[in-house]
């Protein structure tokens, strides 16, 4: 086990004369393996884990109960009405898909860009991506009026030769989110194979041996394995990179290609992608900050990692703020009265409270990250990232609901209010998400051990002071 930290080590200042210390605390390969595997191998989960999963699983159960009620009764159990045909379900869908963005971005784009600090957080972020996409995927499925025929959205051969309408952005969504979920899952799993083999090798019980062994795909750490593995990983990273940009672009098309004022705007694809990265990183931070504390991962997920993510949040948050401003400018500059009203209505209409919540959380709160003190303090980071999560949910709410509630004909304007079913379903989706997260931290290595070891000083021959100690499999040759 590594050294327990009582105080944060500040590795945020880079001394150019020395290699940047991404993993602190003088870790050896063995200590890394011991620490990360130790979390999973600990016999009997801690009480806190049981309590947590009890709560989250109950919430997830509430969500499933709500879904059952919905399917038996009708979409009317939600607060939808005639002008507002899409409410919380779609808001939640876009929110969760957005959350799912950080993982692939970290895995794929930062990998291709050789950002070494990604190794400490990519596993966790990728897992989060999968779970977020699972949560996201529930909503479009259940929000339709007739759930039992939702498979008609897939281009399945049928005797009537009926095809879906390829002009519809909803169909593009099916493909975009489907592809994204598949590639993310593959990516996550592929990256985990060496670590699963480590767990297999360290396993003491038969069940663990078989389970981890099955998923380790017979990994032996041979040169050929490593060679194929790294090729595959690189290819998947290349494949996933455009998906990071495409999935939320396509999700934004649901809105952008419609002609509802407030939706029909070309800025949506980049704006949605920036927002998704923004919210994804915020969620990663929100989850990681408590996790590194609970599992003593401060040497792996260091202040430097947190600070870097805070900088990305600051950058993307500012982009999002810029997009908000641009929308207003274009609404005015474009001279389309319906568009102009849509934006005036957002800021000053009946949903002004939601709009200003969004602006405060998304534009103002990340600006605190200009201050180093704030962006290197886990507590302030936690608070601000939670605000960002709230803000990003409200962004989707503002876009979806305010635009629909007042479109072209004032006679048909309406006001949307969620019902208790809406609320419980959304809260329940958090239950599902955190249940999956808790299962993940209990049964799978939450830090990519094999990858972390590549960025440790011992890996680098030019670093004379640190000699390689230990191997990938946890057996110490000394």
């Amino acid at each position: 086990m590594g050294i327990l930290l009582t105080k944060e080590i500040d590795n945020t200042v880079h001394d150019p004369t020395r290699p940047h210390e991404l993993i602190t605390g003088g870790q050896t390969f063995t200590s890394v393996t011991d620490h990360i595997c130790g979390i999973v191998e600990r016999p009997g989960a801690p009480k806190a884990w049981w309590i947590s999963i009890g709560i989250t699983a109950s919430l997830a159960a509430v969500m499933f109960a709500m879904i059952a009620y919905l399917i038996f009764t009708g979409v009317g159990v939600w607060g939808l009405n005639n002008p507002v045909g899409w409410g919380w379900a779609i808001v939640n869908f876009v929110f969760w898909v957005g959350i799912g963005h950080a993982g692939t971005l970290i895995s794929a784009i930062l990998f291709l860009l050789r950002q070494k600090w990604r190794t400490s957080i990519n596993r966790f972020a990728e897992a989060m991506t999968i779970f977020a996409v699972i949560c996201a995927g529930i909503f479009p499925g259940i929000h339709v009026g007739r759930v039992w025929v939702v498979w008609w959205l897939f281009p399945l051969p049928n005797y009537q030769a009926m095809w879906p309408n390829f002009r519809s952005p909803l169909l593009w969504d099916v493909f975009a989110v489907g592809t994204y979920a598949t590639v993310s899952l593959l990516f996550w799993y592929t990256g985990m194979v060496p670590d699963l083999a480590t767990l297999r090798d360290r396993a003491t019980s038969k069940v663990r041996k078989i389970a981890y062994g099955f998923f380790a795909l017979g990994w032996r750490g041979s040169n050929r394995h490593w060679h194929r593995y790294e090729k595959a990983y690189l290819l998947l990273a290349g494949l996933a990179t455009p998906l990071v940009l495409s999935v939320h672009s396509v999700v934004s098309f649901d809105f952008a290609t419609a002609q509802v004022p407030g939706w029909h705007t070309t800025i949506f694809p980049p704006y949605f992608v920036a927002g998704a990265i923004f919210s994804g990183f915020a969620m990663v931070m929100t989850c990681l900050i408590p996790a590194r504390r609970v599992f003593n991962l401060q040497n792996f997920i260091t202040l430097y990692h947190l600070e870097t993510m805070a900088k990305i949040i600051l950058a993307t948050g500012t982009m999002v703020g810029y997009a908000y401003a641009t929308e207003f400018f274009i609404a005015w500059y474009g001279g389309n009265p319906a568009e102009q009203f849509a934006f005036v209505n957002r800021a000053f209409g009946p949903y002004a409270w939601a709009y200003w919540t969004m602006v405060s959380c998304n534009v103002i709160s990340p600006q605190f990250f200009w201050f180093k003190k704030i962006r290197t303090n886990p507590w302030s980071l936690l608070v601000i990232t939670i605000f960002v999560n709230i803000g990003m949910w409200f962004e989707r709410f503002v876009i979806t609901v305010t635009s629909l509630s007042r479109d072209f004909l004032p006679s048909s304007w309406g006001y949307y209010q969620p019902t208790i079913v809406d609320i419980l379903t959304f809260v329940g989706s958090f239950g599902l998400f955190f249940t999956l997260v808790l299962l993940f931290v209990r049964f799978l290595p939450m830090i990519a051990m094999a990858e972390v070891k590549t960025v440790m000083p011992q890996q680098h021959w030019e670093n004379k002071t640190a000699r390689p100690v230990g191997d990938y499999h946890g057996t110490n040759p000394e």
Binding site: T73, G74, V75, G76, G79, L80, N81, N82, P83, V84, G85, W86, H143, V144, G145, R146, V147, V149, V150, W152, L153, M162, W163, P164, N165, R167, S168, P169, L170, L171, V174, D254, T257, A258, Q259, V260, P337, F341, V344, N345, F348, G349, P350, L404, R406, D407, F408, L409, P410, S411, S412, W413, G414, Y415
Partner: protein
Amino acid sequence: MNKSPDQAYWRSLEELGDKPEFRQFLEGEFPAEAAVPTDAVSRRRFLQLMGASVAMAGVVGCRWPEEKIVPFTSRPEGVDPGIPRGFATAMELAGEMRPLVVTSYDGRPIKVEGNADHPLSLGATDHFAQALVLELFDPDRSRHAVERHGGTEHKRSWNDFETYAAEHFGALRASGGTGLAFLVERSSSPTRAAMQDRVREVFPQAGWFEWEPLTRDNERSGAAQAFGHAVATNYRLGEAKVVACFDADLFQDHPTALRNAREYTAARRVEDGRMNRLYVVEAGYSITGGMADHRFPTASSAIGTTLLQLAAELTTKQGLDLPGDFGGMKEALGHAGHAPAWIPALARDLMHHRGASVIAVGSRQPDWVHTLAHLLNRALGNTGRTVVHVDLSDRNRPHHAAAMGFLADSVGRGSVNTLVVLGGNPVFDGPADTDMAGLFAKIEHTIHLSDFVNETSKACAWHLPRAHTLESWSDVRDAEGRYSVVQPLIRPLYEGRTPIELLALLLEGSPAAGHVLVRSTADGMLPVLDRETAWLKLLQSGVLTGSESVEVVPTLEGRGIVAGVRRGAAAHAPELGENNLEIIFQRDPSLYDGRFANNGWLQELPDFMTKLTWDNAAILGYATAEALGVKHGDLLTLDVGGRTLEMAAFVQPGQAPWTCVVQLGHGRTAAGRVGDGTGFDTYTLRTAATLDFSDGLKIGRTGRSYPLSTTQDHFAIDATGRNEREQRSHTLILEGTYEEYKQDPNFVEHRHHLPPLRSLWEERTYEGHAWGMTIDLNSCNGCNACVVACQAENNIPVVGKDQVGRGREMSWIRLDRYFQGEPDEAKVAQQPVACVHCEMAPCEQVCPVGATMHSAEGLNEMAYNRCVGTRYCANNCPYKVRRFNFFNFNKDIPDVQQMVYNPEVTIRARGVMEKCTYCVQRIESVKIEAKNEGREVRDGEIKTACQQTCPTDAIVFGDLNDETSKVAELTANERSYHMLAELNIKPRTSYLARLRNPNPELAESSDGHPAH
């Protein structure tokens, strides 16, 4: 089964009918229980019943002398199963008839239309008539007689009643009817009038009292004062250039309302070179007020004074000569007081159009105002031209309020021990100062014939089920005396009998068939030669030609007029204010007097102006509400002369200051599952002396609020939204003045600037038919008939108050209503909106499964079976005409009510989207007919349901590719425009801009809102 004279023809069927099992089947035909929702009637059983009714329809109607049953397998000659047939009939509301043609589908009446052969309808109806079929199949209708002793009630049959009647009325016949009284609804039926005469013969001691809560007695006494006897006043608005309405809702609340609306709009069709001008003086909005070129919100109590001021202006300043010597008139008019600025302008307009103007006074105004109007119309030379009178058949009857007073007195004296109530619901709608229930309790024998077990039935010893209009033989006269026969479309579903049948039973001691009674009346009017053919012709056309009354020009009774006007002038209008408001009683635009409370279509029909459903409310103006500190939806305490009622407030533009309009008919307690407990019972505030309006209203706040479900303006709107709504309404409903139009007939094109509209892809072309529609906003008055017609035609579900409150109403066509200008002097604009069938439909592009697609004829079609229910189409529809089935709104519909469904239209399942189809079923049926006959579809042959019922012909449907069609002509009209054309979605429905014709003198001052 009746034996009929032409047995031989049906012999084989008769033999079949003799078999016991078939008899059993017959007896069970439409048993009361068949429709009890909790009763598990199998589909098979239901189909059996249906088959029987089909067969009956086959024998022309079903309560004909040849009443027989034929099995479905042997088809009667001339009847094709599945081919709907129309039968002419009529309905009455408070003695005012509506000529109808009812579509019967395999023996089931499913749709009501106006009778095109009848001059009052010409094919149009109002929403009450449209909703009649739902009432017929109402599962809450009374199914059997009920006898009440003390607190218990017993199920009885007509046989039981006949036994009772034989004894009780036998004794009464012997005593000449001592202690007997009849309380009846108003009816124009000559047969009933004949029975009333017979009552006088058989029961010379009996009393005959007539009560209608929505009475037009003021008109009668006004005319009686002017002419010495009561006459009916009708209008020829087609001839009128200037119409001035004083609290008169000529387009909805008048016996010839449909014709008034039609003639008025025809007389402002600029394409025909015609234009008229409408002034309306009223307290709260009426349909007519919404159409006005100038509307002056005025308290009801001040309207008489206003007319007095107009009279003074006309006679003293404009030099109008009174027809004859009216000593003392000058002085009376001298008391008129200071006139508002618009009076001289109106007076000049009337003077310029002598003989072509109308001064109309509404039934709510006291008699002397009517008297004065008669005088002015005569002086202006309108009488006989634009204002015509016909004699009233019941002109000598006492007023309804008086009759009720007489009855109460008789009961109080103990001189009534048997009361026969024919229809109506006096316990609910009687004057508040008469304790009706208490009155009934004092009478030993009370008998109520009613189609529902209503409040009155519950206060009577006997309740007898009444046959519905569509099950009845009866006859009626219209407002001009034309004779029509009411013929049944279906045999009574339950044991209902008609009032004339009951009267016959009570008078003669034995039941008589309705058709015999009607036939004997009709025979008196039909030519002796070939009477049978004439009778059949009468039934076929629904109106007896040449039966209308002769127009009369009664002589003016100078003394009565002067006395009346002096009396009116002396009684100054009360000073209204915060502590003395005016309460105005109005019929409910949807429920009439409350009789339609259990009709879901009408309950959910948005009020034409407030858009309120499922409730009534105390309607207050903005300034008044503000002064009282009342907010929309607040629960108020209304106090008039010590009678109090808690009622929700509705703040409405265009309402006269210090007035409060309350609608009658809600708050029923024994209406049925739909009508119980909706709204507030305002009859409790309405006394015999204040049937129309009254001052002395005090309004207090309870501090609580009440949810009101409206279909527009679902929530209190913020300033941003209000400004935008008003601004935008001017671009959605294009309007101009007649002056603008004369200067530039293309003003619409010049006002409606569009960006260059180019498509991103090659547009589809349409060969063959290209269906399209035009809606003339200059004609539409927002009467709502199309909304119910569409609901009846297209099986549109009723969703209930809660769902309407959530914005989930299902109507395929709605009337968008926008107020413009200052709230208390607002102008109003109405616009019917249904799916406009865009050629480049935004809904089609976004549906992921292709459930909504374009047909080769340009219809935007919904494949319900394919719909997944993403609601994306509804989001992307700029007109918001798509309706989503959030729940299974067709669940738990009792079997009997399911009979109202149009079999040509799919019932939509839960979770699918629906919307206007341009009545595709009607298009297809005409196309099939044309194809069978080997010809092209003729223009005007296809009528959508909304178009067919529209009294003002505002809606025209047809083939845009046919250059000679009416719709193509109107689409090319210079007033034509496409709403939201800037989106380049190419809607097939175009609107014709509304033209207002303000008086140039008043254009600046009172109508000073910018004409943009």
